[in-house]
């Protein structure tokens, strides 16, 4: 069983893998931040900004994908025990889902007549997306803490889980609008997609929770 996280690598190899993981995390975080910007631009009916943020988001997700492939390649060619390799691969794959679902949410948002939502729902949606961004930020801190301060990583993983609960609660708030609002400006199909948009945002938070489980398992072994 592995006792240390990344401690088995030669200094040069260690730095290389660590830098790549760090870059992957940064790209993922930026993806979610641009999703938040997109929601803001959509609320303000600023189509140019909405498109610009989607382009950024989409490009970042592609770069994250590319980097994930490189990390996996690197991990396969670097001398590692199977367990250590699995830990890192699982972590990187799990983080990648966060970027994937952010892009999915952005893809749907791009075609929605979001500006037609009422102000109350717009505000609830912004809360939900902001809570999701916070969830990703704390997760990134948890993964970074794994390297130098595993006990802190564990408490941050708990925090991620609590934030995921908050996102769930905000999702429930948003859903109440589906049962009571009329959604003028939305065709039935657009309404189905709006629901999918919220589900995609919630899935981003779900993947933060799943990744926090991986952090916990690795962190405990390192602690």
């Amino acid at each position: 069983m592995s006792k240390r996280f990344l401690g088995w690598l030669q200094p040069d190899e260690r730095k290389k893998v660590l830098d790549m993981v760090q870059d992957h995390l940064e790209l993922t975080l930026q993806t979610v931040i641009h999703l938040g910007e997109m929601v803001e631009a959509s609320s303000d009916n600023n189509a140019d900004q909405k498109d610009a943020h989607y382009k950024e988001l989409s490009g970042l997700e592609m770069r994250a994908d590319e980097l994930r492939r490189k990390i996996i390649e690197e991990l396969t060619t670097t001398k590692l025990s199977p367990e250590e390799r699995d830990d890192l691969m699982e972590l990187v794959r799990s983080v990648d889902w966060i970027a994937d679902w952010s892009k999915e949410a952005g893809r749907i948002l791009k075609i929605l007549p979001y500006q037609s939502l009422n102000d109350e729902l717009k505000a609830d949606s912004t809360h939900m997306v902001n809570a999701t961004i916070n969830c990703v930020k704390i997760l990134v801190s948890a993964i970074e803490a794994l390297i130098h301060e595993p006990s802190k990583a564990l408490s941050l993983a708990d925090e991620v889980e609590m934030l995921e609960e908050t996102v769930d609660d905000l999702f429930a708030e948003v859903r109440t609008h589906f049962a009571k609002d009329d959604f003028p400006g939305f065709s039935f199909n657009a309404l189905v997609l709006l629901n999918e948009f919220y589900t995609a945002v919630e899935t981003v938070a779900d993947w933060c929770e799943n990744t926090a489980d991986v952090v916990r398992a690795v962190g405990v072994r390192r602690h």
Binding site: A172, R175, F178, A179, D182, L191, N195, R216, A217, V220
Partner: protein, 203 residues
């Protein structure tokens, strides 16, 4: 801990069954509170179990098996909670009796399914062959839920009401799907239990 996790999950599924039978909003909220409590406690146990399994010196296979089991059971409680949350928002009591009864049937079968799953996991240690038999029964019950789900969908598309919001239609569809996912995850968990049982028998 695994057993406690299972008990809490079964409790969440039982309360969902109670919730679909409940007409009053107050009663529904109270039962939702119970589901929330059970699911959150189950989550806590899952976290502790992951920690425990990571610390203990176990064979990687064994650890992966148990982690897989705990995560799969956790999905059952998650879906029960998701169904409960949706039920709280949709005007379920205004739906035709036949549709409501069909959903009740689904939830009753879900509870039967999770109870069987609990028996299956208990048997893993005592009698893995019996665990395999029970896993088959879980699968059969899941198929029953699938059948009832088809009936519920059939009834659902016949619902016509001018008072029904378009958003509600989407949520009801998600609710039915969430109820069915409870049984799906019982089946998935039974698959994990089956793999463990086979490994134990071969030892």
């Amino acid at each position: 801990m695994t057993y406690e996790h299972l008990e809490l999950t079964a409790e969440a599924v039982r309360n969902l069954h109670e919730m679909v039978k409940e007409d009053s909003e107050e009663g529904k909220k109270k039962l939702m509170g119970e589901i929330d409590k059970a699911e959150m406690k189950a989550d806590q146990i899952r976290r502790s179990l992951i920690t425990e399994l990571s610390i203990r010196e176990l064979y990687p296979n064994e650890r992966d098996d148990l982690m897989g089991l705990v995560r799969a059971v956790d999905w059952i409680a998650d879906w029960a909670r998701e169904a409960g949350r949706l039920l709280l928002v949709i005007p379920f009591s205004g739906f035709p009796d036949e549709l409501r009864e069909t959903v009740e049937d689904m939830c009753r079968e879900n509870y039967a399914c999770v109870k069987l799953l609990r028996d299956c996991i208990y048997e893993l240690r005592k009698d893995p062959r019996k665990a395999l038999e029970i896993a088959d029964k879980v699968e059969m019950l899941e198929e029953d839920v699938d059948e009832i789900y088809s009936r519920a969908r059939e009834l659902f598309i016949q619902v016509e009401s001018p008072e029904l919001k378009r958003g509600t239609v989407i949520l009801v569809n998600e609710f039915l799907d969430a109820v069915e996912s409870v049984a799906d995850w019982c089946e998935n968990t039974a698959d994990v239990a089956r793999a463990i049982a086979v490994r134990v028998i071969q030892r």
